[in-house]
Symmetry: C2
Subunit: 212 residues, 2 copies
């Protein structure tokens, strides 16, 4: 193991010979280590005992400094959420036209996801491994249904299978998100929601149908 594999924080910690490290630095180390663990194992499968072991400190130190496992996760969520938001905002602001803003903002989002890979999964998707397989299977079924619907007959004939599959998943995600949003706006009718998405999609579909 070369010294260069140590993070800035780890190097700073090595300077304290007898192991007593100032609060702020230790917090940074705990958060950094937890980030790795959550990304690697997910929330449930990351244990505070293991975290303490990695930080080479006893458990009460962890609890004194970050409060609880839940809170630790929230710290990381908050951090990542802020970074994500800033990235997209910057990308959007850098463009003039609406379509370029949209393209650029979307790209910033996907780049964020890519650079943070497993952490993004652990933070924003679900507890890793437990039921993702099953839920993804259901989503796959739903997406297939959507794909057959939208991309049947004459629409979108000149388009790749990957595009069809991807857009079907995207639409499915739009429905899921709208359903979650609905929980906080329960006064709205189900038919209204269904119409909203139809209105959003029909222009694109009509356009595709005209093109053949």
């Amino acid at each position: 193991m070369s010294t260069s594999s140590l993070s800035k924080i780890e190097k700073q910690i090595k300077l304290y010979k007898h192991g007593k490290v100032p609060k702020e630095l230790r917090i940074a180390q705990i958060v950094e280590t937890a980030k790795i663990m959550f990304a690697d194992f997910g929330y449930t499968n990351s244990s505070m005992d293991e975290l303490a072991k990695r930080v080479k400190v006893s458990k009460p130190v962890i609890y004194e400094l970050v409060g609880s496992k839940e809170n630790l996760f929230k710290i990381l969520l908050d951090e990542a959420g802020k970074e994500l938001h800033e990235n997209i905002q910057t990308a959007v602001d850098a463009c003039e036209s609406l379509d370029n803003k949209l393209r650029s903002g979307g790209l910033a989002f996907f780049n964020f996801v890519k650079t943070h890979q497993p952490l993004w999964l652990a933070l924003f998707v679900n507890d890793q491994g437990l039921f993702n397989k099953e839920i993804n299977l259901i989503r796959e079924e739903q997406a297939e249904l959507v794909a057959n619907l939208i991309f049947s007959s004459n629409a979108f004939t000149s388009v790749t299978p990957a595009y069809i599959d991807g857009i079907a998943h995207a639409l499915n995600g739009a429905y899921e998100a709208l359903a979650r949003w609905w929980f906080e706006h329960p006064d709205i009718e189900a038919t209204t929601l269904a119409n909203w998405i139809v209105e959003l999609l029909l222009p694109a579909i009509s356009l595709a149908n005209q093109q053949f």
Copy 2:
């Protein structure tokens, strides 16, 4: 408490005086009870001890019949997934035109979510209560960004605030879903993904701009 509050399964179980109930019926009772608990408390906060207590049976019986907590959850996921899929398929098949199929399928989805309320949350969204507040906050921020982008200037001027907010969340959900899908199709470029969604949205936006 009136007898009518008992489910079919509970009534059947009452017929067995000495408490020894056939396997199949006991399994049905366990699954039914677990469904209520997961919906009420979420996965993590539902304990197998409590489940055993409610079913009025010892824990090993539960484990003998359904294997594990994870498996129990998967049984419910599978059940709900199948029902959801059938509902939508039926609704789609009942219509002729594309836009009616889309409307009808969407409605079936939202109706499923509504009738199953807390169970849908527990099964498809996330472990209840833990981080939903924080994740929703981040989503709220993202949606606001999207809303400002899409619905700024002259587009969609004749539209309600609820529509704007809802569609912004839907779009945000589309991006999230596409990112998840991307994990299984890593060969695709981020710019491609960004373009896909722009292409899907631009026709609707252009149309809205023409209308004013």
